[in-house]
């Protein structure tokens, strides 16, 4: 089952607005896979949100996880 990833801001310039990746068990594997697919992401600054919360530690992903790549916020 694929993991769906939504991508915001300048990161969408690199990888498009969304992605579906197969065989991703957790956020560490996701990052590894993303940096292979999009080398420019490896040098970009971003956070990962799972179910609308920023995660700082490796987090298990399931088909129901809502995963988002968030570049630094610049609202206001």
């Amino acid at each position: 089952m694929p993991i769906n990833i939504i991508i915001f801001g300048q990161l969408a310039d690199i990888a498009g607005g969304s992605l579906a990746l197969e065989n991703i068990a957790d956020t560490n594997s996701l990052v590894k896979e993303l940096h292979i697919l999009y080398p420019a992401l490896a040098t970009a600054k971003y956070a990962i949100a799972v179910d609308k919360k920023v995660v700082n530690e490796n987090t298990r992903l399931t088909e129901n996880s809502i995963v988002a790549l968030l570049p630094p916020f610049s609202g206001g």
Partner: protein, 147 residues
Amino acid sequence: MKERKPKNIFVQGPIAASFIADSIEKHKSKTDIGGHSIFLGQVRADKIGGREVSCIEYTTYEEMALEKMHAIREDIFSKYDLTCMHVYHSLGKVSAGEISLFVFTSSVHRKAAIDACEETVERIKTELPVWGKELFSDETHQWKVNQ
């Protein structure tokens, strides 16, 4: 008087001065309020390497932003003795000179409103998943970076 239910903060395009006036006007009937504090973020025509910002295009991760804003609101209401708080943020294009953020807090005595407004603005800037794309008059762009 405290409004703690989740609500939408996003408006399409710039925030008009008349909208701000209407918000102020609505507080006339709340005669326990002694002070209002308002912060307005205005788009700057920054000059970067000969190019000038003509507008900022804002996007958000709306579901996450509204949840986060709700959490910020709860924190601020539990920390300060506020009568009410209103927050509006633009999405889409906002030209230089126009308003893209409107934070409005009110309290019986001024200190709570002033402190709550400042803290809310800081938290919006650092915690809300909103992104500004600075568009230059020559049709190039760069992504805004918050100080």
